[in-house]
Symmetry: C2
Subunit: 141 residues, 2 copies
């Protein structure tokens, strides 16, 4: 079963319908590898003649996040960004000048070790972490 089919199965188990809007919105995430904001989504849907009200976009993003299809990312400005949660865990490089975003894979074994230590010391259950790198991209530095 491909990723898209898997997603549609997840929707079904949550009694979420496969509307044209929802399908188009999920496809937007498949077409971009960078985190997208509500406005990004709106713009992309308009481009393909599937314009929707912004309330729908926000509600949809929240629903997809709740059921784990997308995940929220914070890139340092006041917006929420989202990306497909099925991508393997990774972090981002964010250019402070041109705002370009790049996915970054890294060996997190040391980090997971630290998490384990912190959980023990602080009696805090760590569920997730956010790690983003800010700086200047090739073009801007």
């Amino acid at each position: 079963m491909g990723y898209e089919e898997e997603i549609f199965t997840v929707l079904k188990t949550h009694h979420l319908r496969l509307t044209k809007t929802r399908k188009a919105l999920i496809e937007v995430f498949f077409r971009y590898e960078v985190p997208l904001s509500a406005q990004d989504i709106s713009r992309e849907l308009s481009k393909i003649q599937r314009a929707v009200n912004k309330t729908t976009v926000y509600r949809e993003l929240e629903r997809l996040r709740e059921i784990g299809i997308i995940g929220a990312v914070q890139l340092g400005d006041r917006k929420q960004y989202y990306e497909l949660a099925l991508r393997r865990h990774h972090h981002h490089l964010i250019c402070l000048r041109c705002a370009v975003v790049e996915d970054i894979d890294m060996d997190e074994r040391a980090l997971l070790g630290q998490e384990k230590r912190i959980q023990g010391e602080k009696h805090f259950t760590i569920l997730r972490h956010s790690l983003e790198f800010f700086g200047l991209c090739k073009m801007c530095s």
Copy 2:
């Protein structure tokens, strides 16, 4: 020279005056070890009979950030938080249920190694990183 005096010297070199408001605002940061929002600052200033207009708070926070006295932190909600930049580099544990925030120190040697590798591979100049841990605190888990 103590920290406060050092800060006041920095202000002077940037031609920033030592107003009652600015002094009180900086002292608020010294009294709390957790990141503070503009509203937190406003509330604390009101408590000590030094209430100021919110525009002043926002402008002041931005100025202090520009000259490096405070640094911005993002804790997952839509607000900006700030803390004294003179604190040694550290990260945070954030409880997803009660929102309590705790400073966390960790060995970042492995992380700095990864940064070096990324800089080389991606031709991206990393200037800073944000690393926050989300989960459930002792009381909430």
